[in-house]
């Protein structure tokens, strides 16, 4: 399975350009997707993988055009089904690095079932959710992540749907790698993409992505210079949960519930704060519920459990065991069966 995983020194030296196709990128000027594309193209040369071993799979939507712009193997499939296709790719050849780039409609509406089951099975696929909280390609209808009350062409009086919580879904399915980033945070995204690709199991990365045509500023509460430090919190494994422009705020448990506190006030010190442990699913569960405005929204690698075997590994393990047990399979014996008879 690791036959195609190579040492980086043995690989051709790639640059972002090597992962760039000759196709014109056709997203709207100013779209957050450009930042993600750029981050991925820049991250791949830093990963010990040959270019021919990458497969980018997408469904339908703005984000789904992604594979056309990556000079790797790729498939732009049909709406919602990218993960099912990607599962087939990975199970046919587990030596490939399979990445699904998708939107909130693809992953949480029409393809919601595949999202749940891919994560639950722990298929070794990296999923980038470009969440813009809107349907862009179909011209601005509300999406499953849109806030209640969203005015859109199909909800002129305001959407009466409650939004889905992607991180909570990932937690519920037992997803083994859960992360979140902002499209404007190139550095943060680079680190997360590298870790996500290296993770063996389903990696789920939610990216807050701005649709500057149909849902501009949807994430401004979290993505701007002045709002980011106050309304997001970057979690780092082994470090206390601290945030704020002056890094004077933290999160502690109060009676089993997280609470925003001011460091230095009422005798609170860093030692009172929650320390991030990415292996702890209970913390991931808590992060899933931390939402603006009550809490800063957690960014970074919220959960990573490399110990759970992947679906594709288990599949191949069973194949191997069956082969070991039976020795050289005999096709003639198989089709003849155990209860044949001879006619003279």
């Amino acid at each position: 399975m690791s036959a195609t995983e190579s040492k980086i020194s043995e690989l051709p030296i790639y640059t972002a350009k090597d992962f760039t196709t000759d196709q014109d990128v056709r997203w709207c000027p100013g779209c957050g997707d450009y930042a993600v594309l750029s981050a991925v193209r820049k991250a791949l040369p830093g990963i010990a993988r040959k270019r021919e071993d990458y497969v980018f799979v997408s469904g339908i939507g703005c984000a789904a055009r992604f594979p056309y712009y990556m000079e790797t193997y790729g498939m732009h499939s049909i709406h919602g089904r990218a993960l099912a296709v990607a599962t087939g790719v990975k199970c046919a050849n587990p030596g490939l690095e399979v990445c699904v780039v998708s939107g909130d409609g693809d992953l949480f509406s029409i393809g919601g079932n595949h999202t749940i089951h891919t994560m639950r099975r722990n298929v070794d696929i990296t999923i980038l959710l470009l969440n813009n909280k809107i349907y862009g390609l179909t011209k601005g209808q509300y999406s499953p992540t849109s806030e209640t009350g969203k005015i859109s062409p199909t909800s002129p009086a305001g959407s009466i749907d409650y939004p889905i919580n992607p991180i909570a879904i990932a937690v519920a399915t037992g997803c083994t790698f859960i992360a979140r980033s902002l499209d404007v945070d190139m550095k943060g995204m680079d680190a997360i993409i590298k870790r996500a690709m290296a993770h063996r199991g389903t990696s789920f990365v939610e990216v807050y992505q701005d649709c500057n045509i149909f849902n501009h500023k949807a994430w401004f509460y979290a993505s701007q210079k002045d709002t980011m430090p106050e309304n997001t919190i970057k979690v780092e494994h082994g470090k206390p949960l601290i945030f704020g422009t002056d890094r004077d705020k933290g999160i502690r448990f109060n009676n089993g519930r997280p609470e925003v506190v001011l460091i230095g006030q009422n005798g609170i010190t860093e030692a009172d704060l929650i320390v991030h442990d990415e292996t702890d699913m209970f913390l991931a569960s808590m992060y899933a519920q931390m939402a603006h405005p009550e809490f800063p929204e957690p960014m970074g690698i919220l959960h990573a459990d490399p110990t759970k075997p992947t679906y594709n590994d288990l599949l191949y393990q069973q194949l191997e065991e069956a082969k070991q047990k039976s020795g050289q399979p005999d096709l003639q014996a198989l089709i003849t069966g155990n209860e044949s008879w001879e006619v003279q």
Binding site: T4, T21, Q23, K50, R51, E52, D53, Y54, V55, V57, I60, P67, Y68, M70, E71, T72, Y73, G74, M75, H76, S77, I78, R81, A84, V85, A86, T87, G88, V89, K90, C91, A92, N93, G95, L96, N113, H114, I116, H117, L315, Q318, L319, E321, A322, K323, K325, S326, P329, L331, Q332, L334, I335, T336, G337, E339, S340, W341, E342, V343, Q344
Partner: protein
């Protein structure tokens, strides 16, 4: 093992016999019928079986809708169907008796477990209060009714076994089987071995094996000593070509065909599927063949299943998905994707009666138009249909061959009848089956030029199958229209028109790669009967009967539905009338009429059952004699 000599000269020799075992779905009728078939197969009869079971796993006990039946037709001649008329029925309860009696020929043997004909059981299956059909003179006059207290005799014969009432009670079917073995002069050996293997060796329950064997023997001895049967019957061995034979059902043959195709193509198969009746048998069979590199994936839904198979094909395995009609409907969009991507894919559709959930365990041939047209826009793909249980082996190999030869999805239309029915099969030699050649391009192949993912082979029109992991051939495929050659996204009007035509032409070209349509009988004349798929056995039998009564009729049977064999028009044009029997309201007729502008006469019966031969004989005779 009792010897036969005592009654040797009392037995009547028959060319063939149709026996039906029936009872409650918990009575083990499928097992009983299966054992009777195995034993007869080993003896050397030709046979055909028809298991008929309810959709409910355990319907309320004793009700008519919980009746499970297994019919087997044994013969010393070549036979093609499980038979219309039952010569002998073994009914384990009144519900089975009630549901199945009308199929028994007048004068036929009806053996019943009379212990079950209690007041309560009779009322459960809807007999009027105070009425017991076993005491009805009309029934007694019409059939050779044999009342056997099977429950009590089984219990008595196992009284000293020390086993509980539940285990003892479960042996009733073996008692019944023992009677059947005596009546048809069959050996008990095979079933004894089976019982030992099943209960003693596999489940570690030697005592259960023992009581089942004792019940089986008790039934046999009962037949011998009770003198309640008018005669014993003997169906001699059939004359068969020399060779190794086995019993095979359509679903088993599909499994073996897929595995053989994979081996012949030196490729793993990824079989992604969602359980559905009656296709699950294929899934179960393949799941046990991991040693042959078969990867089975139980997907979360029908759409995921086909998409996973498509992903597998993109990555270089042979993607196969299996389903039945309702699932095929769900896979529609993804089939369109596969044919847009021009990747090999096999879609096994074991048809069942519908629409919607319909009659899940009953058969039908009504997905032909769905297979042909059940996708949006211009989306042709190859359609093949096996004609009998054993033919599933050949056609499954054909489906894989055509999928890779033309880089296209292929729909394989089996049906519930041939999927579950079984017949003897002369096992082919693996070495005689041709190799399926697959090449994946390499970077070196394009030293002098550019790799174009949508460049076409001039002959087959297929595109190259370059697979991920191949250096230098990185490319993107997708559901948006492809530019000819490059495969880049193209919105160009003329390019779209060209690609639509190319995809259609490619599928039409497959006609050059499939066998011609053969005509059984005169190559031209007044009447041609044209069948397709799983009705081959019924139509063949009917044709033989029509001919035996002095009429001339020719017969052709389609196993390739899209494209049709290249001589189809010529064959049809050689006859004044074309009769098309199909278990739908005229789907092949629709295709034939629209393609060849000829009229057809349909024989269309949609009862969730295979054709009755006598109905076909009647209807075909009407046409040939008019």
């Amino acid at each position: 093992m009792p010897t036969d000599q005592a009654i040797e000269n009392q037995s009547t020799t028959l060319d063939s016999v149709v026996i039906r075992f029936c009872g409650d779905s918990g009575d083990g009728m499928q097992l009983t019928g299966g054992q009777f078939t195995d034993t007869s197969a080993l003896f050397g009869n030709d046979f055909a079986t028809f298991p008929d079971f309810p959709a409910e796993i355990r319907a309320p006990k004793g009700t008519t809708f919980g009746v499970s039946g297994f019919q087997v037709h044994l013969s010393s001649e070549s036979i093609f169907t499980p038979g219309d008329r039952v010569n002998a029925m073994i009914a384990m309860n009144p519900a089975g008796f009630k549901v199945n009696l009308e199929d028994v020929e007048p004068g036929g043997i009806v053996i019943v477990n009379e212990d079950e004909f209690t007041k309560g059981n009779l009322s459960k299956c809807g007999y009027l209060d105070g009425y017991n059909p076993l005491e009805d003179d009309e029934i007694n006059n019409k059939y050779a009714l044999v009342k056997v207290p099977m429950s009590r005799l089984t219990k008595e014969s196992l009284a000293d076994s020390g086993m509980g009432a539940k285990d003892v009670n479960r042996c009733r079917n073996m008692f019944a089987l023992g009677i059947a073995y005596w009546l048809y002069e069959r050996s008990l050996d095979h079933t004894k071995e089976y019982l030992v293997k099943k209960f003693a060796e596999k489940k570690g329950l030697p005592e259960v094996a023992k009581i089942n064997i004792r019940a089986l023997e008790a039934g046999y001895y009962f037949g011998e000593t009770a003198e309640v049967f008018p005669a014993r019957y003997r169906v001699p061995k059939a004359k068969q070509e020399p060779g190794t034979y086995r019993q095979i059902s359509g679903n088993e043959a599909t499994v073996l065909g897929l595995v053989t195709a994979a081996q012949k193509a030196s490729k793993p198969i990824v079989y992604a599927s969602y359980p559905i009746t009656p296709a699950s048998g294929v899934f179960h069979g393949l799941a046990h063949l991991k040693r042959f590199g078969i990867k089975t994936i139980q997907s979360e839904d029908e759409i995921a299943a086909i998409c996973t198979a498509i992903g597998a094909s993109f990555a270089g395995d042979i993607g196969v998905t299996g389903t039945s009609g309702p699932g095929l409907a769900l896979k529609g969009e993804a089939m369109g994707l596969a044919l847009m991507l021009e990747l090999p894919l096999v879609i096994v559709n074991v048809q069942r009666a519908g629409p919607a959930t319909g009659l899940p365990t009953k058969t039908e041939q009504a997905d032909l138009l769905q297979a042909m047209y059940g996708r949006h826009c211009e989306s042709p793909l190859i359609i093949v249909a096996p004609r009998s249980p054993s033919d599933c082996f050949n056609m499954a190999i054909e489906a894989v061959r055509l999928a890779v030869e033309f880089m296209t999805p292929v729909i394989y239309l089996s049906d519930g009848y041939i999927a579950n029915g079984a017949e003897p099969w002369k096992v082919p030699s693996v070495g005689d089956i041709p190799t399926i050649n697959i090449t994946h391009p390499k970077q070196e192949d394009f030293a002098d030029g550019e790799f174009l993912p949508y460049a076409r082979d001039p002959e087959t029109l297929k595109r190259p199958w370059a697979i991920p992991g191949t250096p230098g051939l990185e490319h993107r495929v997708g559901s948006l229209e492809k530019e000819a050659g490059t495969g880049n996204v193209s919105y160009d009007a003329d390019n779209h028109d060209y690609m639509v035509r190319m995809r259609a032409k490619k599928v039409a070209n497959a006609a050059n790669s499939i066998p011609l349509l053969e005509v059984d009988g005169d190559p031209s004349g007044d009447v041609l009967v044209l069948g397709w798929g799983g009705t081959f056995g019924s139509i063949t039998t009917a044709i033989n009967e029509v001919r035996a009564s002095g009429h001339s009729v020719s017969y052709a049977h389609l196993q390739y539905l899209n494209p049709f064999p290249s001589n189809t028009e010529e064959v049809l044009g050689s006859f004044k009338k074309v009769v098309i029997p199909e278990i739908n309201l005229g789907q092949l007729s629709t295709l034939i009429r629209s393609k060849y502008l000829i009229d057809t006469i349909g024989i269309n019966i949609v009862k969730g059952k295979p054709f009755r031969v006598e109905t076909l004989v009647e209807r075909i005779t009407e046409v040939v004699s008019s």
